[in-house]
Assembly symmetry: C2
Homo-oligomer: 263 residues x 2
């Protein structure tokens, strides 16, 4: 099916949003040709719509002739309520955890078959990681991911396994039965551990954040140097923080907003 | 001019983006009628476009029949490069400052006649403030704002004054000449001070972050309880951090990205 055929019957809005969605999936800037390939739209249509999107500040044309998301969309996106309460409630707890450890603290929520990173705290001495707020992480190879998966319904676990378990490093769990066993152990233990499964220089410990009915709202993790032998010792403070966030989230629903303050 | 007349000649995309922009300006959810009033579009057009925007996850219809920004837009917005390097470089320094003080640390950039908050660090003991990442703050009444304004060209100062200096509290500077004097003092001192100018419970100290040619890239501030008498003492650590961020930003331009790591 050529791009031209796939264009029929699509509204202008749906085409413009297909362009934005292609950038979301790619997570990097794309050329006009790449956008055409990913959306199935003709080059001329991509050019016309992308040019209009640039006028609104939704996109920017870079010096390398690629399109990237513009500042106007960032500002609008910050208004999304989806994860705002969660981030707002969790951040002070994450600060406490950072201050006690000086390691990367990461907060993620389940989203489809991925974990979506919604907040991060890190300092200058924390091990370098490339995950970013708004980025996605695999559920089978990360601390937050395995914590989410272990406490989620079996259907989600099997859907992730059915999609395939790509090897990020030589240590990533890629065998379905090994992952199933690991998730049972994670659940019994109460927290996940990864060792070089996502990067050879890092290890992590993840704890689920549970709702009132024990449903998985998200997970919080610490990411440390892989050479640290005492990774499991980090579980206790993370679990305390995860419980604090759960409690606060339950209480938050009926609390009014705070007073106005200086900038 | 009726909404219908103003609709003529506008493309579908421009109408859809007018709806998103109305939400950006309002910073709160809006009803269909409010969106029609703010965009000058007929109710039926707003209804049709908003319904389509909901299908893509760009908007959500709340239980109170208002429209709000959806999670899909948040995820896309996080890809904006506009402020990403700045936030990435500044965050570890902000963590240091938070850890030394346990107060609100705020990072903002000039954007038109406002300051745009691009990062915040705060803990459970920090004074409550309502500013948020992605939100806008006045330049004449906030720590970051006065720091930005004092080191910006006179044209910006006069444009802000010409727009008017709204009183946020009884202590906000609303007289042009008082503000002009204050900005000269701020520049000589090297940092701004606000006392109850944005909220009666808070005070702040702001320091500009300067580029290679001494242009104002942004500002960083600490926001503390108004009752703290030693506000000016906070200036020294903030200035150290602002210098560190400036240096790192200058160095960052040619540095490669870090290695992949666990989640």
């Amino acid at each position: 099916v050529s791009g031209r055929n796939r264009e029929e019957g699509r509204s202008v809005l749906s085409k413009a949003f297909a362009i934005l969605d292609a950038l979301r999936e790619a997570q990097v800037d794309l050329t006009r040709a790449q956008l055409a390939r990913r959306t199935g739209l003709p080059l001329t249509t991509v050019h016309r719509l992308a040019t209009e999107l640039c006028e609104y500040g939704a996109l920017e044309l870079t010096e390398r002739k690629t399109y990237r998301v513009g500042p106007w969309l960032w500002e609008i996106g910050t208004l999304s309520a989806h994860t705002r309460t969660f981030r707002h409630v969790a951040l002070p707890f994450m600060q406490d955890l950072y201050e006690a450890t000086h390691e990367n603290v990461q907060l993620a929520v389940p989203d489809g078959l991925d974990a979506l990173v919604i907040e991060r705290v890190r300092g200058r001495t924390s091990v370098r990681i490339t995950s970013r707020v708004g980025g996605r992480l695999p559920l089978h190879s990360t601390g937050v991911g395995k914590a989410i998966l272990a406490f989620s319904p079996l259907e989600l676990q099997e859907a992730v396994i059915a999609r395939g378990l790509p090897a990020i490093t030589a240590y990533t769990i890629t065998e379905p039965d090994v992952l199933r066993r690991e998730l049972i152990e994670t659940r019994e233990r109460g927290y996940s551990i990864t060792r070089m499964e996502m990067g050879l220089n890092s290890a992590s410990v993840g704890v689920p954040i549970l709702g009132i009915d024990d449903e998985v709202l998200g997970a919080i993790s610490l990411i440390v140097e892989a050479s640290r032998a005492d990774v499991a010792r980090l579980a206790a403070p993370i679990r305390a923080v995860a419980r604090g966030i759960s409690r606060q989230l339950a209480a938050h629903e009926h609390r009014p907003q705070g007073a106005r303050g200086e900038g």
